[in-house]
């Protein structure tokens, strides 16, 4: 059900982009909106599949092959999301690319510091795996990217 809706949205966006082909400013703005919408829709799609996968894995499914398949289910959706992001970046102007670079430039070292600290704390006091296992900790990494994005955008406003 979702795929036809997404397909229609894509067609509509492409038609609108074509209509504004001569209007450069409008096209830039439109491209940004299309990119934002695509990123949001595909991000939500991935998050939904991820939550579904988490939910299914908490059920008692005996077959380990089925469990592995369920665990890998969100991966193509996340790759699709990443591909949207990379394509979006390639269509950005130079300042927007700089902002993305600075966001990653913040997120990567912050993630290293965060993971190193968690690792050392785990050695020191053995953190509760219900709170600090990879099940949850990875969520900090995209969060750090968005913090970096917020900082970089503010810098050039």
């Amino acid at each position: 059900m979702l795929i036809p809706i997404l397909h229609r949205k894509r067609k509509a966006a492409e038609a609108a982009a074509q209509a504004l082909k001569d209007d450069v400013g409008g096209a830039i703005e439109l491209n940004r909106r299309i990119y934002g919408t695509r990123l949001l829709v595909r991000g939500l799609l991935w998050a939904s599949v991820y939550l579904l996968s988490r939910g299914l894995l908490e059920l008692t499914i005996p077959s380990s092959a089925a469990r592995v398949a369920i665990a890998l289910l969100p991966t193509p959706f996340f790759i699709y999301y990443l591909w949207t992001w990379m394509k979006g970046v390639s269509e950005m102007d130079e300042l927007q690319r700089r902002i993305e670079l600075e966001a990653l430039g913040f997120a990567f070292p912050a993630a290293v510091v965060f993971l190193m600290t968690i690792g050392l704390l785990d050695l020191a006091v053995t953190l509760n795996p219900d709170d600090w296992s990879l099940h949850h900790v990875w969520l900090m990494l995209p969060l750090l990217y968005y913090v970096g994005l917020f900082r970089a955008k503010r810098r050039y406003e």
């Binding site: 450069v24 400013g25 830039i28 102007d93 300042l95 927007q96 700089r98 050039y156």
Partner: protein
């Protein structure tokens, strides 16, 4: 790096959006350049030069030109 972009734009009665459209960049980029928060790439600076019919040095100047001038050969320090 300092620039005269705002003045040049005002002389032609262009809005930031007009200039952004002519250079195929976002209005945010023009704003960041005018407020000297962002230095454009060389291709964008040259596009600006072409648009205003000026050489790049007439639009952009380094903050401290003397500090970056090449030292004369044999000059005492």
């Amino acid at each position: 790096m300092k620039n005269r972009l705002k003045v040049l734009r005002a002389e032609r009665d262009w809005s930031q959006q007009d200039l952004a459209d002519k250079l195929s960049v976002s209005r945010q980029t023009i704003n960041a350049i005018e407020t000297e928060k962002y230095d454009p790439s060389l291709p964008l600076a040259m596009k600006m030069g072409r648009l205003f019919d000026l050489c790049v040095e007439k639009i952009f100047t380094l903050d401290d030109v003397q500090a970056t001038e090449p030292r004369r050969h044999g000059a005492k320090t």
